[in-house]
């Protein structure tokens, strides 16, 4: 089921197995038949760890969603609440427990907090007078969830907001904890590099935690050679740009959550002969997206302009394979053909799905508005007219385009100009407040606090220097057969990934000046390995680097890192971890003080 997790350079299935083992252990603690009451939010992440079958094996007979009122009567011995540690959920649980039917045989209650138990929540349950009703209160530490063979995420939606706006470093603590767990399974990571305040903070916590465990030495041969911790605010530009890879566009347009995407169903209705008048389905089509699907693994990281060709090529191969049946003459040949059928049918379905998705996306990428928006983004990223009020933004406001779109563009202009001239900033602010409502004053203030929007304090704009030194803009980006990471944004090379690339070769010493222009300290730490665990590298063997994006990472950045991993003379393979998989829209939304208002 999760075989795709073990195909990568690092077998992430080990992490998943560890999580499953812990889950089984907890379930066995509650002896007898059980029903699970789910905090609905958790079903997504848990789905990546375990299937219903695993729960069933451990006598889970019913599952419900956590709701106010009474837990439905189910003939089980145990009721287990799987919840996030949030106060309002505690109130619902208390209500559930108190309205339990006294006439029925008593059931035992348990709580499993994910990812951490909370003193406050337990206090709340006590206040509600139900704390003693629970036989077990436990925590299920789920910090880093394996999403794919080379990808881990904490799926902590608000991590960026907390770290950079509210100065709450709890998610960094969980990050450090997650990295400790990872090291327990995959060995101590000998080298740690970092850039940014949060990176420094996480590294400090890791080193401290390691000192605390000084007694027990980790005897596992290190799998990772290097850990690179990167603050999202070192590179505020990249998530603002529209991602142009296949997977990136799916996320930009439809949003990928926990590895699933919901799509408009029209294109997926299978037309079969004789069923012409059948009604079209109205529920969105839900598809799982990961590298277990061969075709998806092949095209997800391509620039969208190269996807059409890849799909046609695949179509020819599959057609040819189906044609083979006419050549099958002997019983043996037919038998062999038949044995391949399931695989071929899966491939054909996969092709049909992705052709439909590609068509949906193409309708959008070929629209005038998409083109104009992209043109403005590219002008900003290349430094054209970033110091003036942009007419496209003005027109978009006048047309009441979605506020998030406007904010993405204005922030991008600000970042590419190292702040906006006071007059320009005031103009945008006034137009936004007048058109979308004065309450967005709060959101604009938030954007200023995290540095996405700011007045230009000095006349010196260092963005051009950064752009030139790091080669963030490549005129001749090759979308079909890329030779540089800039293909993921059709010209713009994501700053974060450029830093990663330069760290591997020739090293950060070569870009000291630029590093100083970016926020936060950069540093290097070493962790001592017990003797005997030093890796003896084979000639030509690649290094493995874990890149941790604190505050989120986009699919296009992931694509760029995968591209670097696959480069023949790259010398480094990357595994990616983050607090959250994000895109410009979900990111800005997390910083808004009243996101629902943007639907206006």
């Amino acid at each position: 089921m999760a075989a795709h997790l073990s195909y990568g350079r690092v077998n992430l299935n080990i992490l998943r197995e560890a999580a499953r083992k812990e889950l089984r252990e907890f379930l066995d603690k509650c002896a007898g038949s059980k029903a699970i009451v789910w905090d609905e939010y958790l079903t997504g992440p848990f789905g990546l760890i375990a299937q219903y079958s695993l729960l069933k094996e451990h006598e889970v007979e019913k599952m419900f969603t956590l709701k106010a009122g009474r837990v439905p009567s189910a003939d089980v011995k145990n009721i287990i609440f799987f919840v996030r540690p949030r106060l309002e959920l505690m109130d619902i649980i208390a209500e559930n427990v108190m309205s339990e039917d006294k006439l029925q045989p008593p059931r035992e209650f348990h709580i499993l907090f994910v990812p951490r138990r909370s003193l406050l929540c337990e206090q709340r349950l006590k206040e509600q007078g139900v704390l003693n009703s629970f036989t077990n209160i436990d925590e299920y530490i789920l910090d880093l969830i394996p999403y794919d063979g080379d990808l881990l995420s904490m799926e902590s939606e608000s991590a960026f907001r907390e770290c950079y706006l509210e100065n709450d470093q709890t998610s960094l603590y969980h990050t450090a904890k997650g990295l400790m767990t990872l090291q327990a399974l995959y060995g101590t990571i000998p080298q740690i590099f970092g850039k940014g305040e949060c990176a420094r903070h996480v590294a400090n916590m890791m080193l401290r935690m390691k000192r605390e465990f000084a007694g027990s030495q980790n005897q596992i041969l290190p799998v990772f050679d290097t850990l690179l911790l990167l603050d999202r605010n070192v590179d505020l530009l990249t998530p603002l740009a529209t991602q142009l890879t296949y997977e990136g566009l799916i996320d930009e347009i439809y949003g990928i959550t926990n590895g699933y995407v919901k799509l408009p169903p029209e294109k997926f209705a299978q037309k079969k002969p004789g069923e012409g008048g059948k009604d079209l389905p109205t529920e969105p089509k839900k598809l799982q997206l990961n590298s277990a699907e061969e075709l998806y693994a092949e095209i997800r990281d391509k620039n969208f302009n190269a996807v059409g060709a890849a799909l046609s090529k695949k179509a020819k191969i599959i057609s040819a394979a189906f044609e083979e049946r006419h050549n099958a003459k002997t019983v043996g040949e037919i038998k062999q053909f038949v044995s391949q059928l399931p695989h071929m049918q899966a491939a054909r379905n996969s092709l049909a799905n992705h052709t439909s998705i590609a068509e949906l996306i193409k309708d959008i990428t070929t629209s005038e508005d998409f083109f104009e928006n992209l043109t403005v983004e590219q002008e900003f990223m290349t430094g054209v007219d970033t110091d003036k009020v942009n007419t496209y933004i003005e027109d978009s406001i006048a047309q009441k385009d979605p506020l998030i779109k406007i904010l993405r563009l204005v922030c991008m202009q600000s970042v590419c100009n190292n702040g906006l001239k006071q007059k320009v900033l005031d103009h945008y602010k006034r137009e936004i407040l007048q058109t979308y409502g004065y309450e967005h004053l709060l959101t604009l203030n938030n954007l200023e606090k995290v540095g996405l929007l700011k007045p230009q304090l000095t006349t010196r704009n260092n963005y051009p220097t950064i752009r030139k030194t790091l080669k963030l803009w490549m005129e001749d980006a090759n979308e079909q057969n890329p030779n540089d990471i800039s293909y993921v944004y059709s010209g713009y090379a994501p700053l974060s990934v450029r830093l990663t690339q330069l760290l591997a070769r020739p090293g950060w010493r070569s870009i000291e000046e630029v590093l100083k222009m970016l926020p936060g300290p950069h540093f290097e730490e070493r962790q001592q390995l017990p003797t005997g665990l030093h890796k003896k590298r084979q000639q030509g063997e690649n290094r493995t680097t874990l890149v941790f994006f604190l505050g989120g990472v986009t699919y296009a950045e992931i694509a760029a890192l995968r591209f670097l991993s696959q480069m023949e003379d790259g010398g480094t393979e990357y595994v990616i971890a983050t607090t959250k998989l994000l895109n410009g829209t979900s990111w800005i939304k997390s910083l808004m003080d009243r996101p629902e208002a943007q639907i206006l």
């Binding site: 951490r116 709450d168 709890t170 979308y436």
Partner: protein, 450 residues
């Protein structure tokens, strides 16, 4: 892409059995056996078994989805308190005693009795074991405990200690100590925010000298007030807060706007004027953005004298709306009503000789765009297409909206005989346009460029 689609379809047709997929997938696309699928499944089978009914599982989720529960902000997401609770005194801690207390059975008590050090206590808290904070009585002990918690970076523990300090120290002392403890301070601020302890928070911000933050924080409260009258009064009370200069102006506008909307709403709700009968209002104007309000005013109250609160002129002046924004909005509203005369007068200016001339702060191509979207008649459209300065733009829009005369005249002005000949092929043979082109291309007086 087309090719692959075709290939896919061709394969689909000559294969009729696609049900034995490797993995079974329900229509929603989730593999059968996945957790969220099973939650639905077990619940619905339960329902159909005819036992006591349970609220449908597949209705809109009742739980907030944002936030993932990994951190402080999600740990303490209490229902935000309504505005009234401002008056609630911060000293009123007795009702909300959050001091962590013993939960574990007595057997563990012995174990913790032996070690009272801050290190051990904090460690126990982190591991979810029994502990007691009451033992830390002196200020010095309490601060040691806090520092120890901070050094562990576990937000859960830090907050638990802070709650104990909040309960057992005077706020002056607590604030003073927090000022030199940046991390603890952040956690405390966050905790107060999540618990909705607005009043204490404001005091803290004041003590810290973070007055602008305090002002914004207070202003944010208006979002929780539903009743428009109370919301207006609240916004009025915000006017004296120490905002930055710009923000102060925006908050003032916010207040004035809502005040204005309440007056307009009271009058228009009755809907007595004819325009309201002809075009009934779809929603109230309360809490709408300024530009929406201006649009509304241009739609229902156009032509009212400037002295009236609901008149476009008054709104424009009060809120210093730019000419550009005003023209755009008024144009949209009048075009929607098909008042082409009003549209016309929006752009009319008289020069000193008394001649009227059309002038626009927005490009005429955008005017055309808006008119076209409102199904303006060809004649009106043509007039504005003709006003577009840039010949290229004029040509392309004229062609798009079939304003033949303008196309012909523009080519004539550009002295582009070739294009004129090409265009002749697009107009009806023998029509007025056809003849006009014919005349032009045969006119030897014009010095064609080609």
């Amino acid at each position: 892409m087309k090719e692959s689609k075709r290939a896919v379809n061709s394969i689909l047709v000559d294969d009729d059995d696609d049900d034995d997929d490797v993995e079974k997938v329900s229509w929603s696309g989730e593999p059968i056996g996945s957790i969220s699928w099973s939650v639905k499944e077990t619940a619905s089978s339960f329902r159909s078994s005819g036992e006591q009914s349970f609220p449908k599982i597949d209705t809109a989720p009742s739980l907030p989805k944002q936030g993932s529960g990994y951190s402080l902000s999600s740990l303490f997401k209490a229902k935000s308190k309504p505005f009234q609770s401002f008056s609630e005194s911060f000293t009123d801690t007795s009702t909300r005693a959050y001091a962590p207390e013993l939960r574990k059975p007595k057997s563990e008590c012995k174990d913790y009795m032996s070690d009272w050090s801050p290190e051990e206590t904090v460690r126990r808290m982190r591991k979810g074991r029994a502990y007691s904070l009451e033992r830390f009585r002196s200020l010095q002990d309490k601060l040691l405990l806090l520092d120890e918690a901070v050094s562990l970076h576990d937000g859960n523990v830090i907050t638990a200690v802070l709650i104990y300090l909040k309960r057992s120290l005077s706020k002056e002392i607590l604030f003073r100590e927090l000022m030199v403890r940046e991390v603890a301070l952040r956690h405390y601020v966050h905790y107060l925010k999540e618990m909705g302890e607005q009043k204490l928070l404001v005091e803290l911000m004041k003590a810290l000298g973070r007055t602008e933050d305090m002002a914004l924080m207070q202003y944010k409260e208006h979002l929780n007030i539903k009743d428009e009258g109370r919301r207006r009064d609240f916004l009025k009370s915000c006017l004296s807060l120490p905002f930055s200069q710009d923000d102060a102006m925006h908050v003032q506008d916010h207040y004035t706007l809502l005040e204005r909307q309440i007056i307009i709403e009271a009058n228009d709700k009755r809907g007595e004027a004819e325009i309201f009968r002809k075009y009934p209002r779809k929603a109230s104007i309360l809490n709408m953005p300024l530009i929406t309000t201006l649009y509304y005013s241009c739609f229902y109250h156009y032509g009212e004298p400037e002295g009236t609160f609901s008149s476009p002129a008054n709104i424009r002046k009060t809120f210093r709306i730019s000419e550009k924004q005003y023209i755009l909005t008024a144009l949209g509203a009048r075009a929607k009503l098909k008042s082409w005369f009003d549209v016309d007068s929006l752009f009319n200016t008289k020069n000193w000789l008394g001649y009227t001339k059309k002038r626009s702060p927005i490009g005429f191509h955008r005017v055309v765009d808006i008119l076209q979207k409102n199904n303006a008649p060809a004649q009106v459209l043509q007039e504005y297409v003709n006003l577009i300065d840039d010949p290229e733009l004029r040509l392309s829009l004229a062609q798009k909206y079939k304003c033949h005369d303008i196309v012909i005249d523009t080519y004539k002005d550009l002295k582009d005989r070739q294009q004129l000949i090409v265009y002749q092929g697009k107009v009806e043979r023998g029509s007025h346009e056809d003849r006009k082109i014919e005349e032009l291309i045969n006119n030897m007086q014009i010095r064609w460029k080609n």
